[in-house]
């Protein structure tokens, strides 16, 4: 994932361990997830494509056979945080993912 455009999202401690937050970027909303058990970070669009709800950041993180995923709080559709595809329904659209980097306790998302 090569990107030149990193923007500052928040501090590490702003994001609950093994949970997500929603980051405002202009008019866009990006969901940021922190897997504290293995210090991994992921970012995706905040919009769940199923019913067009701004909700993924409030969803539940987890893994399916090792692949990180997020479950939407509305109807529990799950999406891969690795490549954004819908894991629970082949016909559902996928979601956009973004790279994340952490430098000295500050979290950046690449656009």
């Amino acid at each position: 994932m090569s990107t030149n455009n990193w923007f500052y999202a928040c501090k590490v401690s702003d994001v609950p361990a093994n949970g997500g937050v929603c980051v405002k970027y202009g008019d866009e909303q990006i969901a940021l997830f922190r897997f504290a058990r293995r210090d991994a970070w992921y970012a995706t669009q905040n919009l769940c494509p199923h019913k067009q709800q701004m909700a993924l950041s409030r969803g539940m993180t987890g893994t399916q056979e090792g692949e990180p995923k997020i479950a939407c709080p509305f109807h529990k559709k799950t999406f891969s945080l690795a490549d954004g595809r819908c894991l629970s329904d082949d016909t559902e659209c996928g979601i956009t993912t973004y790279p994340v980097k952490v430098e000295e306790d500050l979290v950046y998302i690449g656009i």
């Binding site: 609950p16 093994n18 929603c22 293995r38 019913k51 893994t63 090792g66 479950a71």
Partner: protein, 833 residues
């Protein structure tokens, strides 16, 4: 190979799916002409269009599915002519296409009897989404709606009218009974009784003679017996008529009552033209259901790709829910008395009717009818189709299935390999077992691999039984494990977490699990810890493992706002407190509604407003109502002996005492309760997880009741109890349920599955047969003593409050995408897109 398909309904779509899967990639060119303006949609679930589904929800595949699969789709463009000599079709919009193979899948249209006045305004047919849109636009003007036709489709249309708000709806049937082709007199009478009790008016033996009305608008129906029924909306659903006009035009053979004649490869009299679905006439019969249509699609696609498969007719067994009433008919529902024997169970209290027809020698099941409760349908159908030898007491087929015994798994495994389990997708038992043996050991994996259970979903319980049956047969120990991260059942995890004194999800994962957890195990572990320790659920890193509603201590609603429900114990509230709720509602612009549990729900709260709303409510003496939790919800009450002239005891005071005792108690699922002051049962206590009814000697305690989609009456656990004993028994009942139930299992389902049922439970709770009563009592008392209002804790804790913001980098800013629409004097969430 170029294939042209005329028609784009469910069967046409299925044909595409099948032929794409069968033909080598890159060898196919498909062109579809559809008369309707949208791609194929789910006509079986058409009535859901009125209960909230949009036209898009009903689509079988989005428009880009066709592009991705290289299919040219011409919508709103019916074919006008087939030229068999040059092998071309010509469409309304002047497009000409050549074909190697032509598939006619034009389906059927509504049969409209030639009654004078059918062309009047206010008369509709019920067939397509466009028909439904016309009905929807007209319905607000209608006060009384009538449906002609008491068959399957007619009753669906009646449901549509009810969904549209036409509460005075009548059904007219020419025959002496409803659904004459599927069910017998007695079944029909039961169905009619049940539908009438739901508010539908039914007239049988009625022959409509004319539709009356001035200015070309319907105002009444006149019948052959000269009686008149006033009505301002009419839906005709008196049968179907195959769309065979194109076939007739080009000289293909058709039946004299309609339908394109096909052979057992679905070829018409022109071998390069096939007809499938409701327009095809096979062996003198039109198949007006979706499953045989899918089978035809499969056979035609197989034949075109050079393989051999024959259509040999199709079982017309069917199971459906009509206005909430189960109706099923299978095999030969009317087997005559001289060659067969019949067993009938009729329960006019519950409104169920079950009939099975058994061969004269008592060995085989020939068919039957189920009204009101069709749970046994799948098993009975398979027993009929596969000619399975019946047990010595064939009534066990009905009674056993009703009792929910554990036999059902073994029953499915005894079917032969070619038994059709999923009739929509025609998946056999053998195919499912093979998929399981190949390593697809979960329902989702089997669905993905075989497509079984993906259409109507009716076979899902059998598929589940086959998965566990196959795994057992392979010698695999089937454990009811939570998920891939924890190889334990809930009950095992409960004990482990208690013994090891585990207080956070991370600790549980370290000791007993692996990986990161998921949306299944996280809430299970969170619920177990809450039931055991009653710690604040948002602390110790446990906030992110709570189910979404628990995580924000509020119920997420359409659009992403939340609803707020303060506790109103027993439904008793002072005028002062009502004022506070009103002020909060006004200040935060909330939609307010009285709930079914005698409290007030405030909808449309922004995430960042929640702590402020609760701060005000708590200051006025309110506390959390736990409407968001798998926890005790409400204890409903009638007004009782303090005011009511019939009341035996003070039901409100007892309800408040109970609600305050168990408030905040977390369990495998939500728990509801009620107290009635006399046997008139105004609080509906028998529909609750535990319900209490006053008697002249004390209280009767009922347990295991349930409303919701599968209503069940609670069963009497103990009678004539004093208040303290009643509470002690509730303590034990609830603790025993919390410790032993599977995740997300209500008390009703738990009790149904409990070996020994209510007698066993009574022994544990009342007679202390396991010697654990004292332990249960102490554990419950411990939970009761530790109760704290979790909203109060959040309001007073700045770290916890911080989480109640939509944007991490713009705290306090609200989600700008949230939209409301005005509704009466209040507002509603904007509809899903």
């Amino acid at each position: 190979m170029k294939i042209v398909i005329i028609g784009n309904g469910m069967v046409s779509y299925k044909f595409c799916e099948k032929i794409i899967a069968k033909a080598p990639a890159g060898t196919l060119e498909i062109v579809i002409f559809g008369e309707e303006p949208r791609p194929a949609y789910d006509r079986v679930h058409l009535s859901e269009f009125f209960s909230g589904k949009t036209a898009d929800d009903l689509l079988l595949a989005p428009a880009d599915w066709y592009t991705q699969n290289n299919i040219r789709l011409h919508l709103g463009d019916p074919v006008q002519q087939i030229d068999r000599v040059h092998k071309t079709v010509h469409s309304y919009k002047d497009i000409t296409e050549t074909y190697d193979y032509l598939i006619i899948a034009t389906g059927s249209s509504a049969f409209v009897p030639p009654i004078p006045g059918v062309d009047k305004k206010g008369v509709f047919i019920y067939r397509t989404i466009e028909d439904l849109e016309l009905m929807r636009d007209y319905a607000p003007k209608a006060t009384r709606g009538v449906v002609i036709g008491g068959g399957l489709l007619g009753l669906e249309a009646a449901k549509a009218l009810l969904d549209l708000g036409v509460s005075d709806t009548h059904v007219i049937e020419f025959a002496p009974r409803l659904m004459p082709r599927q069910i017998d007199d007695n079944g029909s009478r039961m169905l009619q009784h049940k539908l009438e009790s739901l508010g539908l008016h039914i007239h049988t033996n009625k022959n409509t003679a004319a539709i009356l009305g001035e200015d070309d608008t319907i105002s009444a129906l006149q019948f052959a017996d000269d009686s008149i029924l006033e009505a301002n909306m009419l839906v005709i659903s008196a049968g179907i008529k195959p769309r065979d006009e194109l076939a007739k035009l080009c000289g293909l053979e058709t039946g004299h009552r309609g339908g394109i004649v096909v052979n057992d490869q679905l070829q018409t009299t022109d071998p390069s033209i096939y007809a499938i679905g409701e327009c095809a006439l096979y062996n003198g019969m039109i198949y007006g259901l979706v499953a045989p249509g899918y089978e035809m699609a499969e056979v035609a696609a197989t034949h075109i790709t050079g393989e051999h498969k024959a259509f040999t007719g199709f079982d017309m067994s069917t199971k459906l829910k009509l206005i909430g009433v189960d109706v099923a008919s299978f095999g030969d529902p009317f087997a005559p008395a001289d060659t067969s024997r019949t067993i009938v169970f009729e329960d006019s209290m519950k409104g169920t009717y079950q009939r099975i027809n058994i061969s004269g020698d008592g060995k085989l099941l020939l068919g039957g009818i189920l009204i009101g409760d069709a749970e046994a349908y799948n098993m009975l159908l398979q027993t009929t189709k596969n000619k399975i030898i019946l047990p010595p007491n064939p009534e066990d087929l009905l009674l056993g299935a009703r009792g929910g015994n554990t036999e059902s798994g073994a029953g499915v495994m005894s079917l032969p390999d070619d038994a059709l389990i999923c009739s929509c997708e025609s998946v056999s038992k053998g195919a499912i077992c093979e998929a399981v043996e190949a390593g697809n050991e979960t329902l989702n994996a089997v669905k993905k691999c075989t497509k079984a259970g993906t259409c109507c979903g009716g076979c899902v319980p059998m598929v589940k039984d086959l998965i566990s049956g196959t795994m057992k047969a392979q010698g695999k120990y089937i454990r009811n494990v939570v998920c891939e991260h924890f190889a334990y059942s809930r009950q095992e995890l409960f004990d482990l977490i208690r013994i090891k004194d585990i207080r956070s999800f991370d600790e549980a994962l370290d000791h007993y699990g692996h990986g990161d957890g998921c949306e299944i195990c996280k809430p299970v572990v969170a619920s177990i810890m809450a039931s055991l320790w009653n710690d604040m659920i948002l602390e110790k890193g446990n906030d992110t493992v709570q189910d979404s509603n628990d995580r924000y201590l509020a119920n997420i609603q359409k659009g992403g706002t939340y609803s707020v429900v303060p506790r109103i114990p027993g439904g008793e509230i002072t005028p002062e407190k009502l004022l506070v709720i009103a002020q909060v509602g006004l200040k935060y612009n909330l939609y307010t509604k009285i709930t079914g549990g005698q409290r007030i729900d405030l909808f449309g709260a922004h995430l960042s407003d929640l702590p402020f709303i609760w701060e005000e409510l708590i200051a006025a003496g309110f506390e959390s109502g736990h409407a968001y939790g798998k926890a005790l919800r409400t204890v409903k009450s009638c007004v009782g002996s303090t005011w009511c002239r019939f009341g035996l005891h003070d039901s409100v005071s007892f309800a408040i005492r109970i609600e305050e005792r168990y408030r905040g108690l977390r369990a495998p699922h939500k728990i509801k309760s009620a107290v009635s002051g006399c046997i008139r049962e105004c609080a509906e206590a028998q529909s609750k997880d535990f319900g209490i009814i006053a008697t002249d000697k004390g209280w009767n305690l009922y347990v295991g009741g349930n409303g919701g989609s599968k209503p069940q009456h609670a069963i009497l656990l103990a009678a004539d109890l004093d208040s303290d004993t009643c509470i002690r028994y509730i303590d034990r009942f609830l603790m025993f349920y919390i410790k032993t139930a599977d995740p997300l299992t209500r008390t009703a389902t738990w009790l149904n599955k409990l070996d020994g049922g209510i007698n066993y439970l009574r022994n544990v709770v009342v007679n202390d047969s396991l010697g654990i009563a004292e332990q249960l009592d102490n554990e419950m008392q411990d939970l009761v003593d530790k109760y704290k209002c979790e909203w109060k804790e959040v309001v007073e804790n700045p770290e916890l409050r911080k989480r109640f913001n939509h944007f991490v980098n713009a705290p306090g800013d609200k989600d700008p995408t949230i939209k409301f629409d005005p509704l009466r004097e209040q507002k509603r969430a904007a509809e899903w897109k």
